[in-house]
């Protein structure tokens, strides 16, 4: 198994990049003086160079330090939201697809209705009405609107999988429905789940960055999106302070690239193992 994973260069590259970015964030205290990320800790509006490798912003934050602290936060949101959204969607999809009948009708209708509501509108509504937004709350909010597509997709696959002869054979072995779902159906969903996970995570990150850029993010925490917000707020573009918004953009781009590579690599890996038919 490990060998197969290592053979997929895309997958390895993506994982390596993601790991690097995560590590950079975790190792922040050893790489830079994190106190420099506080407001007013350095001379403001300095361009890159000298003591501040990426310069400073209007509020006197060292951009590099801020970046390194913001990275793990954004990653956390994305991972949490992605996991919760996918997990919830998968569970509901399994229930709907396997048992059909009333549970299916209920879940399907819920998902279809929820899908038609513009997510941004709901997110904004929630964010506006919450007293103080936190990273965890953001993650849950975003996840709450990310489960529908996985639910539908998983349901469709389960509907198809349950008709396969190997499921019948499992029944003939005397295996009950719960074990059937776990041992026969779920392993076949892994390719979809693996591929969707990366998409779910990046989708969640985009949604949160969008909210944060609008100013609805956690004001007291540092995330990549909040860096955008502060850059906008401080008129970075007008003032030509490119070092304020370019680093977070590059960081986000790198994260998405890594996720894309992981997704593509996992997809190839799963398909190689799952070759079916003559």
């Amino acid at each position: 198994m490990m060998r197969a994973i290592l053979r997929e260069r895309l997958l390895v590259a993506g994982l390596a990049l993601l790991l690097l970015l995560a590590l950079a964030g975790v190792m922040a205290p050893w790489l830079v003086d994190t106190s420099l990320a506080e407001i007013g800790s350095a001379r403001p509006r300095r361009p890159p160079g000298g003591a501040h490798l990426l310069g400073t912003d209007t509020q006197g934050r060292d951009v590099l330090a801020a970046l390194l602290l913001a990275l793990p936060q954004t990653l956390r949101i994305g991972l949490m939201a992605g996991l919760i959204g996918l997990g919830l969607g998968c569970a509901l999809g399994l229930l709907a697809g396997w048992f059909r009948g009333i549970p299916d009708a209920v879940i399907r209708t819920l998902a279809d209705v929820a899908m038609t509501i513009p997510a941004i509108a709901v997110l904004v509504l929630i964010a506006v009405n919450v007293r103080s937004m936190t990273v965890e709350l953001m993650a849950i909010t975003v996840a709450g609107l990310a489960w529908m597509v996985p639910a539908r997709a998983v349901r469709a696959q389960v509907l198809s999988l349950r008709e396969r002869p190997w499921v019948d054979i499992a029944r003939l072995n005397g295996i009950g429905p719960l074990r059937l779902i776990l041992t026969e159906i779920l392993p076949n969903l892994v390719p979809y789940l693996a591929a969707s996970f990366a998409a779910a995570v990046s989708g969640a990150m985009l949604a949160t960055v969008g909210l944060e850029a609008l100013g609805l993010g956690p004001q007291n925490e540092l995330t990549l999106g909040m860096m955008f917000y502060w850059a906008q707020y401080g008129g970075a573009v007008l003032r030509g302070m490119w070092w304020w918004w370019v680093p977070p953009v590059v960081a986000l781009a790198l994260i998405f690239l890594a996720l894309l590579a992981i997704s593509a690599g996992l997809d190839r890996l799963a398909n190689a193992r799952l070759r079916v038919a003559p």
């Binding site: 396969r164 002869p165 190997w166 019948d168 054979i169 499992a170 029944r171 003939l172 072995n173 005397g174 295996i175 026969e184 392993p187 076949n188 892994v190 193992r273 799952l274 070759r275 079916v276 038919a277 003559p278």
Partner: protein
């Protein structure tokens, strides 16, 4: 009476006013001999309902009307221990060797899992030994088969694995749907011979579903001919195939190529 069908009917569809009802099976009754093991051949073409019939017998499908009985009791009313007994007593060989294997697992599981579940083996080693023995009976080499994934084996090998599984389990009844269709001619006779032996010596009844009349003749004691979901003729094999009464049975017989080359066979059509 180990396995029985009484007036079983299976209808699909329904439409808004029940107009588009499609009858896959209409009023079919059959009963396996309670005494010595017997082989019942179910002969028909695709669309005849024979696959639906097998699914009824295997408890994978509920009839829309009529009953399926195991040991005199309604199959779908069985629970717990009784249900487990049924599962132990009735096994299958499916026609489609491609779909029968879950692609994420190695093919060993096809043999080892049921061996453990039905208590034929106490542990992995015993199960493996049983599996290897079963493979030998169908002409498969354990070294070339076990440890592989389904896509690494040919259709014929997979089908033989399914046969090996059924033979290893020695149930009371084997429902075999075209068990040798993907297997080469030379091996076909060997496998059918092994199934025949199970009947003789092992007391295993066989429901043999096929469109091949010659193997039905060779293997079966009784024959049921099906067409469009209905039974058109049934009885002892010598009577149904030897002296067919129904025109459809005659048409099926006529479509079998003769044992010795007959250049006129193609152009000749039996008045059906």
């Amino acid at each position: 009476m180990p396995l029985e069908l009484r007036d079983a009917e299976v209808a699909f569809g329904g439409g808004l006013l029940g107009r588009r009802r499609n009858l896959a099976l209409a009023g079919v009754s059959l009963a396996l001999d309670p005494g010595p093991a017997e082989t019942l051949a179910i002969v028909g073409e695709s669309g005849s309902g024979k696959t639906t019939l097998t699914r009824l017998l295997l408890g994978l499908l509920r009839p829309t009307s009529g009953r399926v009985l195991w040991r005199g009791r309604d199959l779908h009313a069985l629970r717990g221990q009784d249900l487990a007994e049924y599962r132990r007593g009735v096994q299958a060989i499916f026609q489609d060797p491609f779909g029968a294997f879950n692609p994420v697992y190695r093919v060993d599981r096809m043999l080892i899992l049921p061996a453990r579940r039905f208590g034929l083996a106490a542990n992995e080693e015993e199960a493996r030994a049983l599996a290897e023995q079963a493979l030998g009976a169908v002409g498969l080499r354990a070294a070339e088969t076990l440890g592989r994934y389904p896509h690494q084996l040919s259709g014929g090998q997979r089908q033989r694995l399914m046969v090996a599984r059924a033979m290893m389990l020695r149930p009371r009844v084997i429902v075999a749907d075209e068990p040798v269709s993907m297997v080469d001619a030379s091996l076909r006779a060997t496998i059918l011979g092994a199934l025949h032996l199970l009947r003789q010596g092992g007391g295993v009844s066989l429901v043999y579903v096929t469109h091949d009349l010659t193997t039905a003749w060779q293997l079966a004691d009784r024959v049921m001919v099906m067409r469009h979901g209905r039974v058109v003729e049934q009885g002892d094999v010598e009577q149904v195939i030897g002296r067919p009464a129904h025109p459809y049975t005659r048409a099926l017989l006529d479509a079998v190529p003769p044992a010795m080359p007959d250049p006129d066979w193609l152009d000749r059509e039996d008045a059906a």
